[in-house]
């Protein structure tokens, strides 16, 4: 329980920073921090495998990817990096708070039962392996296909698909050429 109580606020703070910070790179790094903290949380709970996967994939790949993308798409001057406007924040809050309220209300109504203070259920690697490659084998294959497709697609995108020219500057409001 204690690790939970310590980690939860930290996670929230980091997330808040990721959401709030004006500079995109700061926000991305704070995202990485958040993800790392969540991984720590998983480890504290006892989902060791998941926690390690979280570290490797999210922190090691996704966060890095995001940071690199930000670096690629960095605009010329500082001013454009500010990515937040006051009015849109208000509307955003108006739309978000009800969602939060709904979540809280459903949480309260659901009234999750008091669990018997138990140890973490066993989640050995062997069990993971068994489950993955027997019950969920098709899913694993599908995900593999998906990731392959993503790889190919991303590579194609990076190379540049025929027919799209990036010579003309884009004007807001004008419809895109086919």
């Amino acid at each position: 329980m204690l690790p939970l109580l310590i980690l939860s606020p930290l996670i929230l703070l980091a997330a808040l920073g990721a959401v709030w910070k004006a500079r995109p790179v700061h926000a991305a790094l704070l995202l990485a921090l958040t993800l790392a903290l969540i991984a720590l949380l998983y480890l504290a709970i006892g989902a060791y495998f998941i926690g390690l996967v979280q570290f490797m994939v999210y922190v090691g790949a996704v966060a890095i990817l995001i940071v690199f993308s930000l670096l690629i798409t960095r605009p010329g001057d500082e001013a454009e990096e500010i990515s937040r406007r006051p009015s849109s924040l208000l509307t955003g809050l108006i739309c978000t708070v009800p969602v939060l309220a709904v979540l809280f209300i459903s949480l309260i109504r659901a009234n999750p039962p008091e669990p018997a203070a138990s140890d973490a259920p066993s989640a050995t690697l062997q069990q993971f392996g068994e489950k993955l490659f027997t019950t969920h084998a098709p899913v694993v294959i599908t995900v593999g296909v998906l990731l392959t497709a993503v790889l190919i697609g991303a590579a194609l995108f990076a190379r540049g698909v025929q027919g799209i020219s990036s010579s003309e500057p884009f004007e807001s409001g004008k419809s895109l050429p086919p």
């Binding site: 849109s88 509307t91 955003g92 108006i94 739309c95 978000t96 009800p98 969602v99 309220a101 709904v102 209300i105 459903s106 109504r109």
Partner: protein, 680 residues
């Protein structure tokens, strides 16, 4: 033949009027170029009718009781609830003689017309009208129902109108046709009223109907029994009305003004309709309904009226004929005068003398008109006698025919039927218990008749030719001359059956048998009358010869009588001012009224209509503009509003994904909150 015919008479008799009517109907549909077909059809139909009529005449020769006709049919025609109108045909001596006369004379006039009207474009139509007329006239004489008689009477009037106005491009002809129709209409209204009165009182319009008919004792008694206005019996009142109807049709004063103008029609029409047959229909009506006239209680008013009207007419027309210069108008007024004679005979009690005079008159008046037609044709459509003269040498055959007719009309003694028929009329007038007034009028009229007929003969056929122009008159072709001779023969031969020596006709009509009585002419009264007639004829002819024996060569010189009579001549020539009187008294006020109505129409109704029209147009404009502005603009406005709102609605589609997401998030959470709240 009579025995073979009589069982079939009741239906054969229908063929007599229906064949010419059918011929007329077929001709109505033939185009103008089928000339021979039209005249052939008319002649053929009429000859069939003639043969049947002569056969019927032969059947009817056997003496029968008056009131017991040989054939009296009745068929139901119309039924309204309990009332049935019946029509039928009647064959008794009167109708048989009339039918035979009408078909015979008409046949020869038809034949004459094929030659006389040969140059006419509407040849076929002429024969169509003539056929229709003949059929209707035969229906008049053969009818057993007063209603059928009236309807046929009207058709006869229609045919007369169509034929008088045959040359309708001439305004005078069209006016004459209209005048004839309207004047006879006045008479027809009285006829109709009389007929209705009779029907209302006796519930029948059939003449003979096994004891229930109008002319049979039961009806007559009920008619004579009831009294009405002025103390007259119903029979007297109805008879007077019928008399007025007869006066219109037969041209008695004061409804006579149409007859002279009717000479605008072609000459065969004048011969057939306005001499021999249609004008005789009035006389026939009175003769047919004579039993009703007779049974009028003590006063005998209708008969008295008939006799006096006849007398006045006879003298009046004879006077006016003196001053006429158109060859046909002289003959027209002569017809009016002779019809007056017939009315005198009817009024003084003799159906037989009236009918005999009618039939004889038909023959010689038709003869006179046809010869006048021959003269007109020969003189190249000249009708003024002042421009004729000496035609005796150039048209001898016509002269002979004309002479026979003229002598018959004037009453030349012994050989001609006209003498004997006039004798019979004078005889019955002389014996009338109601006084000698009509008799004296008839005597004067007879004198004048001889005078003016001789005048006409002298001016047309004798003396030196006065016709202007190079064209010489020529004799007419045989198709015109043969009918003349046939009619002339008839005029002479008829006298055989009407003399007092052997009064066959009279007895036959009365239902008895005639006996040859050699001594009939030697009785005192007979001798007195014959002497009187001879005197009248001699005086009249001689006086006329004295005045007219040397007519001047100049065709525009005044008539010898004109210079002697002065203003009276003009008065007589205009028909004693009757036309002018009617013009002032009747036509003038009516025209004024019509003008007033026209002004009313124009000044009041037309503006009112214009007002109504304006209102309706204003309403139309109102609805149209409300449609324009209200509906159209309203609709356009609604559409624009929809488009604008759609425009504003679509602005919610900003194209930015974040706003969409916000909407989704907000919407979803609101729904869930609602769900929680409702299931709380």
């Amino acid at each position: 033949m009579a025995e073979a015919l009589s069982p079939h008479l009741s239906w054969l008799l229908w063929c007599v009027p229906l064949m010419p009517l059918l011929a007329g109907g077929i001709i109505a549909f033939l185009p103008d170029r089928f000339r021979k077909a039209a005249s052939g059809l008319a002649l053929g139909a009429l000859s069939i009718s003639c043969l049947i009529s002569i056969g019927a005449l032969i059947c009817a020769l056997a003496p029968r009781e008056v009131g017991d006709p040989l054939v009296a049919t009745s068929h139901s025609w119309f039924t309204f609830g309990e009332i049935t109108l019946k029509v039928g045909l009647l064959l008794d001596p009167m109708s048989a003689a009339m039918a035979a006369m009408v078909t015979f004379v008409a046949f020869w006039i038809f034949l004459y017309s094929t030659g006389y009207m040969a140059a006419e474009k509407r040849f076929g139509r002429f024969f169509g009208f003539l056929s229709m007329f003949c059929g209707a006239m035969l229906l008049v004489v053969l009818s057993n129902s007063l209603l059928l008689l009236f309807m046929a009477w009207e058709i006869v009037g229609l045919a007369s109108y169509l034929l008088i106005g045959f040359y309708f491009e001439k305004p005078s002809a069209a006016a004459a046709a209209q005048k004839a129709f309207i004047t006879t209409r006045v008479g027809d209204m009285a006829f109709f009223l009389g007929m209705i009165w009779l029907y209302g009182h006796t519930d029948t319009l059939l003449f003979y109907d096994h004891g229930k008919g109008l002319l049979e004792s039961g009806a007559l008694a009920s008619l004579a029994g009831a009294t009405t206005i002025g103390g007259l019996t119903v029979s007297a009142a109805a008879s007077l009305l019928l008399l007025v109807g007869a006066m219109g049709k037969s041209g008695q004063v004061p409804l006579h003004t149409w007859l002279p103008d009717a000479m605008e029609g072609p000459t065969p029409v004048s011969a057939l309709i306005h001499a021999a047959t249609m004008v005789a229909a009035g006389v026939f009506l009175v003769a047919r309904t004579h039993p009703i006239f007779l049974k009028c209680g003590d006063t005998g008013v209708p008969l008295m009226a008939t006799a006096w009207v006849g007398g006045i007419t006879a003298l009046y027309a004879a006077c006016v004929a003196l001053a006429q210069t158109d060859i046909k108008r002289i003959l027209a007024y002569s017809t009016v005068s002779q019809l007056g004679f017939m009315m005198i005979a009817l009024g003084t009690g003799g159906v037989a003398p009236a009918l005999f005079h009618l039939i004889a008159h038909a023959f010689f008046k038709a003869l006179l008109f046809l010869s006048a037609g021959s003269v007109i044709h020969g003189c190249h459509e000249e009708q003024d006698i002042r421009r004729m003269g000496g035609l005796r040498r150039e048209m001898p055959k016509t002269f002979v025919a004309y002479a026979i007719g003229m002598m018959a009309l004037a009453g030349f003694p012994f050989v001609f039927s006209g003498f004997w028929s006039k004798e019979a009329v004078l005889h019955s007038a002389m014996q009338w218990p109601g006084g000698l007034g009509p008799f004296s009028l008839a005597v004067c009229a007879a004198l004048l008749t001889a005078f003016y007929m001789t005048r006409q003969a002298l001016l047309v056929f004798f003396g030196k030719p006065r016709h202007p122009g190079v064209h010489h008159p020529h004799e007419s072709p045989p198709v015109i001359l043969i009918p003349l001779f046939v009619l002339a023969a008839g005029a002479v031969l008829l006298s055989l059956v009407g003399t007092p020596l052997w009064p066959w006709f009279e007895e036959w009509i009365k239902g008895g048998t005639a006996h040859f009585d050699r001594g009939a002419l030697t009785t005192v009264s007979a001798l007195k009358l014959v002497g009187l007639s001879l005197t009248l004829v001699t005086v009249g002819v001689t006086a006329s010869w004295i005045v007219y024996k040397n007519p001047s060569d100049d065709s525009s010189a005044p008539d010898p009588l004109e210079s002697r009579l002065g203003g009276l001549w003009g008065f007589l020539k205009s028909g004693m001012g009757f036309d002018a009187l009617y013009e002032k008294a009747i036509i003038g006020p009516l025209a004024f009224l019509a003008g007033g109505m026209d002004t009313l129409e124009r000044q009041v109704f037309v503006p009112l209509m214009g007002l109504a029209e304006g209102v309706i147009k204003w309403c139309g404009r109102l609805t149209s503009s409300s449609d324009e502005k209200g509906l159209n603009d309203g609709f356009n406005g609604v559409c624009a509003g929809l488009q604008n709102s759609a425009g504003s609605a679509s602005s919610a589609q900003s194209g930015r994904p974040q706003s969409y997401l916000r909407a989704i998030g907000l919407g979803m959470s609101v729904l869930l909150i609602l769900y929680f709240w409702l299931t709380a």
